[in-house]
Symmetry: D2
Subunit: 270 residues, 4 copies
């Protein structure tokens, strides 16, 4: 990959510890939760259900990037406070998205892992801002980003001094319309061979269809992914966004049971 | 999938028996061999090595679709004769590509399974010709074909009376240039849910890179694929086409060993 | 373009004469007519209206490639006979599609120009069959074909001895869903710079929307296209296929009037 | 376009006045200049040459979004100062890119038009920041953005109270590799029909090849574009970025001469 310097390609394996989880080690890291933090009740119900099911990292958006300015765009700092509260109550670590360089500070106060969404993969001021943190960052691949561009984006964070980058494949844009995006699972072994960074997959956004979350999760783990980012909502039919791709806690439990033998088959734990 | 009649969607599972193999049953069907039949020695060396490794279906092209009219385009009927000869010597079943409605008859005489390549997925006279056979047909997805169009192409064969259709995902065209194509593994569970037909994956053509054949094979099986179509050549560095994506028999043996636990994990055999 | 031999790149300009038209000369060649030959009345009404408007080449499909085996697929040889009949009555030359190497002979008997559709751009036996003719061939670009692959496909025809190839850009597949396809008009000057062949554009199939036929036609001519392939139907709302992209003869007359100043601006005639 | 409110679709035509230019009126607006402000000499030489050729709006980047953190990323505020200085010397208006919500204020102090680049089309905090300005904004289409998403992004700016939005088509990502991107010229008439906003085209970034700048410019104007954004550099072979797509002032003069008759043909002036 011409022009890519070696910061992303250091050969010692990166393992990122956060709360009770370690990302990039033997255990497959599961980050699960609702697309958006909607209310105290929704968040706590979902979080406790996931805690029961062994999930160590809770996802939930307080700042939501939305195509339309008229869509629900998250609770903002009030959402961050709810996330912190549920984290204290459950002991789960929190991952949440940051969209604005000006909000990196406040998000970093509340969250354990910051997420850079696909639309912001080449938001260079934002990458530079999280590059100054000493906190893990999940960097999602852009919808039309080549693997080379994705790694260069990671390099912005690493060059800033923050080596705790987790790459996340979440589907690319193609002509296929059956799924929301086309998940490029071959990116997982490619990125694993080119870098020392953990790689996770987001089957919920990659497909947009809840019935594909389980098979894509299995494929991802079989191909070497270090973790999964999965949308789970206590009442998907009432979700303010992305309900059609959210699992219920019961469906998530079923997925975990199905995934377990694949993890064992590739020498990993769940 | 609007307008798709129900021939492809009959709910009883299709199992296709060919030689010692059954495609669509518990066992993952492996079709392996060189991209092209190049010579008696190359074919026999490769075939016997694969036979030793338990492969029941041998692939090899006698008629090769080539982008340039100046590239090697296969040995034609002489290649078919070699395939038949090696089939008799090894007991392996033969899969080979047919490109011309006029050659369907002769190919069907020599081969056990006919392959329709991605460039011909919507070659309707060819689909109609193989629809009149009583032989299995592997139908590869076109490089820019939606899943709906692929199933409609299958329906051309089924509507002709030939129910032995095996669908093969082999990568679609996207902006990504690291791999030759982008393998759409989510198509596997989608097609399994919409039809009763076996689905296989061709990791060699989908990626164009030999180091990705093993991880894509694992992902495919984990996601429900019924088989794999893999390029193996006794001397990839001397192959007349696609050498850079061909495994040696030794590499194929390694792949099989790695694949075996995944098969078990999803309740399949290898 | 590595590996591309020079048959397509001969520097003397190719002008193809057919009936009263010359394709590749100063005059912009217009090929217009219905998607499919549906009936004697439909064809004659449309053809006479177009003849009145100065059109010299009539398009109309007798063999229609259709995604679904259950869609109307053309009148076959009866359609060819109607085309020949209307040609005699109007003096217009005929362009029609051929899909099967076995039908090249019969289509060549009736038609003045044979069309290879986008799905068949890499149907090599078909390309070889028309390569043996001494008749003009319109070669449409495949939906996912690179420019290099398109020129190699032309080379199959040229290598067979038939130098009368007309290249036709008709849209490629992208993620955009507003239009049926994305017309790649930059392909026009690229192909003009790499080959000596005439290049035309099909705005009807490229966009799938009748309101875009006029602007795309203007852009094509401004960028150096030698002709246009346009769907016109006497009663689009009753067309058996592609009615939503067909112009009425009155709309076509309006397009011609708008196009005329653009032709003059680039030193061409209409 | 479901869910799109009507702010972008107000039917009275928007004409945006800036310096001596009016964008969206009869005259085709030309914005030309170097990719990046590199030095006082480079900027002044290019600007005066363009001024001589009748250009009223000068482009030049002070903040450059670059794939790699190790590439030249612009002179920053020093570049803005040079742009202001050359503006005072020549009377030309200035367009320059802004990437960071924190820099909107400073860029707006120096520039007449702010540009949002394709990577930032869905950088919502940035869109909201420029939405509060009373200055024109050029909004480039994202590399994988649908037309609907592009218009929703415009709506973010309009909803903030800034109605001076100019849409810019600059190529989308496809599988074609001959050009850097595939310019979607059909987007021009589509967007003109859906909104009241001026639309311009960037042929330099859309193709990445200087020899395609003239034909794409002609096509754009023929299809209704209100302006062009063109890279011109006094010495392209020494440019710090994008030299291979930059015209010299002499080549730009030739383009203008060729473009003039097309403008007249569509009732516009140059």
């Amino acid at each position: 990959m011409e022009g890519l310097k070696l910061i992303t390609a250091i050969k010692s394996k990166t393992i990122i510890n956060v709360g009770e989880a370690a990302i990039g080690g033997d255990e497959i890291a599961i980050m699960a939760g609702p697309c958006a933090v909607e209310s105290r009740e929704q968040l706590f119900t979902t979080a406790f259900a996931l805690k029961e099911l062994g999930v160590k990292i809770l996802r939930g958006g307080a700042y939501k990037p939305r195509t339309s300015p008229y869509s629900f765009s998250g609770l903002g700092e009030a959402g961050l406070e709810l996330l912190q509260e549920v984290s204290r109550a459950t002991g789960m670590a929190i991952i949440t998205e940051v969209m604005d360089p000006n909000e990196v500070g406040v998000v970093a106060e509340y969250a354990d892992i910051l997420q850079i969404g696909s639309r912001n993969m080449q938001n260079f001021p934002l990458l530079q801002a999280v590059g100054k943190l000493n906190k893990p960052v999940v960097l999602k691949r852009g919808l039309a980003a080549t693997i080379a561009e994705w790694l260069f984006a990671a390099e912005y964070i690493l060059a800033g001094g923050n080596g705790q980058v987790i790459l996340c494949e979440r589907g690319i844009r193609t002509f296929e319309t059956y799924t929301r995006n086309t998940v490029d699972l071959s990116a997982v072994p490619i990125v694993k061979s080119l870098t020392n960074l953990p790689v996770i997959v987001d089957p919920s956004h990659a497909t947009g269809l809840k019935e594909l979350v389980a098979p894509v999760s299995k494929g991802a783990v079989a191909m070497g992914a270090d973790g999964l980012l999965i949308e789970v909502h206590s009442q998907p039919e009432e979700a303010l966004c992305d309900g059609e791709q959210s699992l219920t806690p019961a469906e998530f439990a079923k997925l975990k049971a199905e995934l377990s033998p694949i993890c064992l088959a590739v020498g990993r734990k769940l």
